[in-house]
Symmetry: C2
Subunit: 427 residues, 2 copies
């Protein structure tokens, strides 16, 4: 049974179940990374055999395997994946940015170049889960950014990858795919091996080993984020349908026993009805056991005094997913400051965004929406600034720079300017 | 004496002196952070007394102290700081971004909101260095982003802060200033204490303790970067003036014994002349000892076969600062893919950008320009995406989402859509 609290009874920090999880895989991961760095493909083959039961001469998925996957998958599903990809593309196209240049002062040109990364690595989990949506969500922004080469890695149990994953990779535009999973895949992407090229950024979810490996290679390469358990906060008022709110909470709860689904409402009627609906719906789910643990241990219903207070609570919590299940949702949009992805109105369940609508589903968890953003085209570009001055332009400001440098006690900085002023036009 | 290599003789990884520095301050820093988290202001006062010799009842700089600083500093210097701030503002204004909305499909509204951080923390080092330029460079982008409150901390030896730092803070628009330095300042900003408010992002350079503290609080708050030693790569051809190239290299070398200054040229004439000029100029510098160590141990001259090859080398190295000391520098701009800040032509020494021109001087070091950017307005905003569908719009695509969810084995995801389809207009 889900727990109910009045807002005054509970501290903001206790509303979501956000524990600072400790994992003890750091040493094991460090060992795997060092092994891959030193022994390259030989180490990768050893791990593929040990963890995935796959004896692989060639680690890369062949063009034939990729073509065969397109034949093996239901064309109706392929069409749905293509429509989802088109929606994701349309949304992320709007995130593209352009260079700028400033030429307002005589003899001065300043600007900023937007440059795509050379190479991105997409990690896709294997095992029981099969998430083609993640392939689309992680690859398409990189593609739109103009990344030159996109490398995907995923574990291949017995040497086989789920064909739906390969189809999603094809649709999204992945350049090369490798049959490698776990920390060893992260190591291969970070350091490069004989067959796997080194990348500049690694994105994608994974188990504790993958997350720890991303943490350890961070700095050498860029990473997207270390995601915590998934979360949803639903703002619902007295007009809400309890069956629907409960269904939305369970779509979060079925992910993981650590996932949190929180309803904040000013309606005791809705609170009680959702509580009852959860009890009714949980046993009907294939993943009932997971959902039960999430609802009982990590989820809550919070009674606010007003919907205005409910929005304040949402901002304090900065949830990964925020559903505004209210009839006039745009009235609340300006007040929402901290949330990864916002679902507005009664006809936009989170699942719409997980798969289909277009905005990214790789989102900041654990309150990091205070300062982090959904995965976007920005994650796959970087900027360089540039400065050009003519001799005359430098002469006009040179003495000021010398004075500034002296104030900071850096005479050689000043000298690099004054030597130019002294030499004048003779450079 | 600086070392010279032909490009064929040296590996790319050895051109800059980029060691993976190990510091053994992790335990000491963890202890300080835990202390600040637990004991708040009491711990901060203890550290201020121990490290800065300052017995402070009030940790915050008062309005009177800030006003007095404006009186104490030379008006000419204040005018220079204001002119630099105006240039920095003009450049960073161009980085501002706007929300977007997509309304092309019937009944569908998608969009992205740009939201400034609530609060940013700027760390400013104290001690012998006094860097008002860093105050301007770190604060102004936050201000332009629209950050609601900007908190600065800096150590105050004997309770006093250099008035030039306070003046720079005034000009840049810092809201509150605290007399706290070291790992304890980072802890105060990350966790908040009775008098220091918790921030969402911490930026600014610092010693090994500050860097390690930023690493340890990363995730709880955002940080700018962990900067490595500063670096410059200069592309120069046979038309270059050796005295000027050497002066530019020394402006980098005087920073730190670990700083690197590398010249890549196709001219043996320039290589030899710069080598001789370095020997002539080093003894003339107040910071000769530091510059000598940097030039002899960490700096190099690389002889390329052509300037085209020289640009390739620059891209491989991805330097923090790149000077293109060539007459037609814009001819090279499109070829440059990886560099933090690019200085074009013979009249744009790095010092121009360090202080005055407008682009930021907080830049990616150690090759991270492959995937990282100069500090910018982007560092002080985050994005939220939003999704609105009408009932009719959801009905049109609902079945596809259910099918997709089932493919991923997440039936509750599908159910959150199908329950809406079943209920139709009754929500």
């Amino acid at each position: 049974m889900i727990k109910q609290y009045r807002y005054a009874e509970i501290s903001i920090d206790d509303i979501f179940h956000r524990t600072e999880e400790k994992t003890d895989v750091a040493d094991a991961v460090a060992e795997i990374l060092a092994d891959v760095r030193k022994n390259g493909d030989e180490a990768l083959r050893r791990y593929c055999e040990r963890f995935d039961g796959a004896k692989l001469d060639v680690l890369e998925v062949s063009a034939e395997e990729r073509a065969a996957a397109m034949e093996a998958v239901d064309p109706e599903l392929i069409a749905i994946l293509k429509e989802a990809a088109a929606n994701i593309r349309a949304f992320h196209e709007k995130q593209k940015r352009t260079d700028f240049v400033i030429t307002e002062k005589d003899g001065v040109v300043l600007g900023q170049k937007i440059i795509p990364l050379d190479r991105a690595g997409i990690y896709v989990p294997g095992g029981t889960a099969c998430y083609p949506s993640t392939v689309l969500m992680d690859t398409i922004p990189a593609k739109i950014a103009g990344v030159r080469e996109i490398i995907m890695t995923t574990p291949a149990k017995g040497g086989k990858i789920n064909p739906v994953i390969l189809v999603a990779a094809e649709i999204a535009g992945v350049d090369r795919i490798f049959k490698i999973g776990g920390a060893q895949a992260v190591g291969a992407l970070a350091y490069g091996t004989e067959s796997v090229p080194r990348v500049d950024k690694i994105v994608g979810p994974g188990n504790a080993f993958v997350a720890e490996a991303k943490k350890q290679v961070f700095g050498r390469v860029s990473i997207d984020m270390i995601a915590g358990p998934s979360e949803i906060l639903i703002l619902g008022d007295d007009t809400c349908d309890a069956e629907i709110v409960a269904a939305d909470m369970l779509s979060q709860a079925e992910h993981d026993t650590m996932a949190s689904a929180v309803l904040v409402t000013d309606s005791t009627r809705l609170a009680d009805a959702v509580s009852a609906e959860l009890e009714r719906q949980i046993p009907l789910l294939p993943r009932a056991e997971i959902a039960r643990a999430s609802i009982d241990n990590c989820s809550k219903i919070i009674l606010a005094e007003s919907m205005t207070q409910a929005v304040d609570i949402a901002n304090e919590i900065a949830p990964e997913h925020l559903e505004v299940c209210i009839d006039n949702p745009f009235a609340y949009l300006a007040q929402i400051r901290h949330a990864g992805s916002i679902f507005l109105g009664k006809h936009a369940p989170e699942a719409l965004g997980d798969y289909f609508a277009g905005p990214n589903h790789t989102l900041p968890t654990s309150g990091t929406a205070r300062f982090s953003s959904p995965l976007s085209v920005d994650d796959f570009i970087k900027k360089s600034s540039f400065t050009y001055y003519t001799q005359q332009a430098l002469e006009q400001v040179g003495e000021k720079i010398v004075r500034f440098a002296e104030e900071e006690g850096l005479q050689a900085h000043g000298k690099s300017v004054s030597v130019r002023l002294e030499k004048g036009g003779t450079l």
